[in-house]
């Protein structure tokens, strides 16, 4: 019976291979590139004063990623309205995400790249896909490459498979998936974390299909995302629940902490959130337990000590020679960073890194077939089985 099942699976997987053909080649190339830089795209899509909390959400994330080491030139910040110097703001040039007003999010060094009317779906797509007019300055472009880890954070008002931009446009889940797919094809990222804080955020990820993408949403389909609390001095709600608890998690961390993404994901309590945080991990190849949060929310780069002066080496096929006295240190570092082991062993176990599930099962089946001795007998058995099934079915249908 086992043999019969396997032979049927062979036939099914022939067909599935046709659908999943193109993806493995891309997946192989990106998984062997070294993680070299971090980028963040932080988007607040809501206009008007009563959406203060969306801007506070975005600025809180901005502060967090800056604190964890992503420099300003690698952060694209999009704010749809001006809250800090809004005439209704009692605290000019200040934005708070907590009613204790301990932390001014709008410090002296905020660089807003797109603001006001510039925050449109068109500009958002242009930033992601990198298709700008030639005159657009570098500070407004996402200049990532195939070694980039990108954090994409969006907040605003949304619904089933869409996110509103400024009350006049919508970003649909298809648009997002298309942009991400194009980014993948243009090798604009190695890994991408999409974090969305909006109502029914999970639906925004339904069309994603590019490998290397991880998605977190604040709520499932049919659920709302709620604000956390109201600041009676400012007069409006100042932060959303999902972002509030995300920040509560990050405030405990610094750049050198080794907390994993799974610990972040497990920190969300549906009772406190009043919604169910949703994670989509099926496109992401690595185990979340091994991926530190600083992979996306920070910029912790590997420092390689060399005795000799600078030697140029290509990231892809580099062999890092470890001096004897530093080997202990490097081993420790290896444990911390999940990139290095993958880098060194990447070429041997290629099958492990394929992210399309169908390809993965197909590869498993191929492996098993390769192990079997009597391939001819298997085929003959399969032939007999097919014959029996065909005759049986035609006999019944007559």
């Amino acid at each position: 019976m086992d043999v019969l099942f396997k032979s049927a699976a062979v036939l099914i997987s022939i067909f599935l291979l046709l659908f999943c053909n193109a993806i493995p080649s891309v997946a192989y190339s990106s998984s062997s590139t070294m993680h070299t830089n971090n980028w963040a795209v932080l988007v607040c899509t809501s206009r008007f004063w009563f959406n203060y909390r969306h801007m506070a959400n975005t600025l809180s994330l901005y502060r967090t990623v800056k604190r964890l080491g992503i420099p300003d030139e690698r952060i694209i910040l999009m704010l749809a309205d001006d809250m800090a110097c809004n005439a209704r703001n009692k605290y000019p040039a200040q934005v708070f995400n907590n009613e204790n007003h301990r932390l001014n999010l709008y410090g002296d060094n905020v660089e807003v790249d797109y603001r006001g009317y510039e925050v449109t779906v068109e500009n958002f797509m242009r930033v992601l896909t990198g298709r700008h007019e030639t005159a657009v300055p570098r500070s407004k472009r996402l200049l990532s490459d195939e070694g980039s880890h990108i954090l994409l954070y969006m907040t605003g008002h949304g619904g089933d498979e869409f996110l509103k931009f400024q009350d006049s446009e919508e970003l649909q889940s298809h648009d997002l998936a298309d942009a991400v797919k194009q980014m993948k094809e243009k090798r604009r990222f190695k890994e991408l974390l999409i974090m969305v804080d909006t109502c029914q955020a999970a639906t925004l990820f339904s069309q994603l299909q590019s490998p290397g993408v991880l998605a977190i949403g604040s709520s499932m389909k049919g659920e709302n995302s709620y604000s956390h609390h109201l600041d009676s001095d400012v007069g409006v709600s100042v932060v959303d629940r999902f972002t509030f608890y995300t920040l509560a998690y990050f405030e405990r961390l610094n750049m050198y902490d080794n907390a994993s993404l799974s610990s972040l994901f497990n920190s969300y309590n549906p009772n406190l959130l009043m919604s169910t945080a949703y994670y989509r991990t099926d496109l992401y190849g690595r185990q979340l337990e091994e991926v530190p949060v600083t992979n996306f929310f920070g910029s912790v780069m590997e420092t390689i000590h060399t005795d000799s002066p600078y030697r140029a080496f290509s990231g892809k096929y580099s062999k890092i020679e470890i001096p004897l006295d530093q080997s202990d240190e490097v081993k420790q570092r290896r444990l911390k960073s999940s990139d290095v082991p993958q880098e060194l062993t990447g070429s041997n176990i290629t099958g492990k890194h394929v992210t399309c599930p169908v390809t993965r099962t197909w590869n498993a089946i191929l492996g098993r077939i390769g192990m079997m001795k009597e391939l001819d007998s298997l085929v003959n058995y399969g032939l007999i089985l097919m014959f029996l099934i065909a005759t049986g079915s035609s006999w019944f249908s007559s």
Binding site: R115, E118, A135, P137, S139, V379, L383, M386, F387, F396
Partner: protein, 639 residues
């Protein structure tokens, strides 16, 4: 000469009490670099980004200002150098003059707006559309042809614009006077305007070059903190006392060490000085006191630090009173002895600022969403003594330049221009000396009006009206908050016969850029209000409604039509009957078939005509061959 060949940076701060209990603070920073030809491309102080900007786009002169709030011409003055050059329209104003051939000016302008938008974190790139900028011929500046001018009245101004501006300074906001710029204090003010002015003669080969000059000013009007009630002395409210630390929450800990000079000035306007003299005379009841000597500590007010020098205004022949500047050198102060200048009033003083010859304002007339009219009103100030100075001799006239840009969706009919002087309609030809109009073109260019007015000296009020129709925009062109209305940028009114400048007695003072700015002879300029025009905005959900309703109507129509054409009632009834007869599930029918086959007896109820057995065999053979072929193919593939 060797000194001239170096880069220079100077900083200065001018403080001035305002009649409406507020304080004006005017920061002035200037960097200059000798021309590249003699100095080379490497700089120590001059910001690289600005240098690259000038060289890339060949900018000859450029001014960019970010302003929030409106300069109050009546209370804060309209006839002094600061109001003429630092009172700016709200939002962003940018003009630039290029040293390129005429056909490349627009391309340079577009690239410049993008570069500036990246540099200053603002949406200046919206000025790249030809609908948003204009090319004034003569009224705005005297350059012809290569000047472009654009404004964004609704652009927000906040920290993110100030920070990159500060990053152009060699000490940023870490040392020197710029360390005073505490963001919440500045943005709490009534008015703030940050300005960047560039002049370069890098590309002039003819004359001796002076290089690039970058002038950065920040003008803020702040309300001093008056703790408790307003102090009253003899029935009058005392002016609020203030200090640097109460205005900005910070003190100056020494100068920016690379700056050539770092001075703070407190300026008393001529009207205030004459008022002070009067009060002093009434208090001390002795005349003939030289008002400048030991003046910082007297019965009326007290300045916390003793000034290093007192600068008097000269050259103002018409009046005996002139403004006074107290100079303080910041370099004498350090961390252990921070500089915290304070002004404390002891006696109430009331004065008013010097006004522009005419007070300009602009408003909308008419109602409804179809048409309206713009009116520019020029009204002589209440105290007329200063105004008449400019046209003292009989029969002379006031000359006024008006420059106004109107977006294309406000379709102005220029032939409806009417001029009212003192309430009476005048012929336009009599009062307009020169006029240049470029009517708007839909979705291509805005309407520009440049006008040289000639008004009699005795004029009380002059009103210009222009009628317009409101246009319609395409649905994509409406901004997200279209219901708020659309802005008509400020008009610029310049009084060409009047110069706002303060001359100083000492010639060596010319070397100080902040005083140079005050001495520069410029026309008196005022900006009018920004107008908010409500346009008809469509119901943006309308397309969706239309689509849904149309689709429903179509579905109903075609559905019923097809029903009527295709439906055969008799046939359907027969089918229903037969279905009711064999109402059994597919599994049970399958089972009954199977049992019948096993028994060898034919199925009793067979409503469908059974196919011939030979046909079944044929189909079977085809299927078997297909499966065998697939298996063979698979085997071949795995080999």
């Amino acid at each position: 000469m060797a000194e001239e060949l170096n880069e220079e940076f100077t900083e200065g701060l001018l403080l001035r009490p305002l009649p409406d209990r507020r304080v004006l603070a005017h920061f002035h920073f200037q960097s200059s670099v000798p021309p590249t030809r003699t100095y080379g491309r490497h700089h120590h102080l001059f910001p690289k980004s600005i240098y690259q900007l000038i060289n890339k786009f060949r900018v000859r002169e450029m001014e960019l200002s970010f302003t929030q709030g409106r300069w109050n011409y009546e209370h804060w003055g309209g006839y002094d150098p600061i109001s003429s050059s630092n009172a700016k329209p709200p939002g962003v104003e940018l003009w630039a003059d290029f040293d390129v051939s005429l056909d490349q000016v627009d391309a340079s302008w577009k690239n410049l707006t993008h570069a500036l938008s990246g540099l200053f974190c603002a949406s200046i790139n919206f000025l790249e559309h030809s609908t948003s900028y204009s090319a004034p011929q003569w009224s705005f500046r005297s350059f012809a042809g290569k000047l472009r001018y654009g404004t964004l009245p609704r652009e927000a101004v906040c920290t993110e614009n100030l920070t990159p501006w500060l990053k152009l300074l060699p000490c940023r906001d870490k040392a020197g006077l710029s360390a005073l710029m505490d963001r919440p204090s500045i943005y709490r003010g009534y008015y703030h305007s940050q300005r960047l002015h560039l002049t370069s003669d890098e590309f002039d080969t003819a004359k001796s070059n002076s290089g690039i000059m970058l002038e950065q000013t920040l003008t803020v009007v702040l309300q001093p903190n008056t703790l408790g009630d307003r102090a009253m002395v003899s029935g009058k409210t005392l002016q609020p006392s203030w200090s640097l630390s109460s205005l900005f929450g910070r003190k100056v800990h020494g100068k920016c060490s690379v700056s050539k000079s770092s001075n703070v000035y407190v300026q008393f306007e001529p009207n205030l000085v004459s008022e002070l003299k009067e009060v002093w005379e009434s208090v001390e009841s002795e005349s003939g006191i030289l008002i400048h000597d030991a003046f910082w500590n007297n019965p009326i007010f007290e300045i916390s630090a003793s000034p290093d020098r007192v600068v008097k205004e000269v050259g103002n022949l018409q009046k005996e009173v002139s403004s006074i500047l107290y100079e303080f050198l910041v370099e004498d102060y350090n961390d252990s002895k921070p500089f915290d200048l304070g002004l404390r009033w002891k006696l109430p003083v009331v004065w008013s600022c010097k006004q522009a010859p005419l007070h300009a304002s602009r408003f909308l007339m008419g109602s409804g969403n179809e048409r309206g009219a713009i009116a520019i009103s020029l009204r002589s100030s209440s105290n007329n003594n200063t105004q008449r100075v400019g046209c003292s001799e009989k029969g002379s006239q006031l000359r006024i330049d008006i420059f106004q840009v109107v977006p294309w969706y406000v379709k102005v009919y220029y032939h409806t221009l009417k001029v009212f002087i003192d309430g009476e309609l005048q012929s336009t030809m009599e009062n307009i000396e020169k006029m240049h109009l470029s009517p708007s073109e839909d979705k291509v260019s805005p309407g520009v009006m440049e006008m040289k007015l000639r008004l009699p000296c005795s004029v009380k009020t002059a009103v210009l009206t222009l009628e317009f129709d409101k246009g319609f925009l395409h649905i994509d062109e409406y901004p997200p908050d279209a219901n708020q209305g659309f802005d008509i940028p400020s008009a610029v009114v310049s009084f060409t016969g009047f110069q706002a400048s303060i001359g100083f007695e000492d010639n060596f003072l010319n070397k100080l850029p902040i005083l140079n700015e005050l001495q520069e002879r410029k026309h008196v300029i005022s900006y009018t209000e920004v107008l908010l025009v409500p346009l008809t905005t469509p119901d943006f959900s309308m397309p969706y409604n239309v689509i849904t309703i149309t689709c429903t109507v179509f579905a109903l129509y075609f559905g019923s039509l097809l029903n009527a054409l295709r439906r055969r009632v008799g046939e359907e009834e027969r089918l229903l009957k037969s279905k009711a007869a064999k109402k059994r599930g597919p599994l049970s029918s399958m089972l009954s078939k199977l049992s019948a086959k096993l028994k060898g007896s034919p199925l009793e109820p067979s409503p469908t005509p059974s196919t011939s057995p030979s046909f079944i065999n044929y189909k079977l053979i085809v299927k078997v061959i297909l499966v065998a072929g697939m298996a063979a193919g698979g085997q071949y593939y795995f080999r």
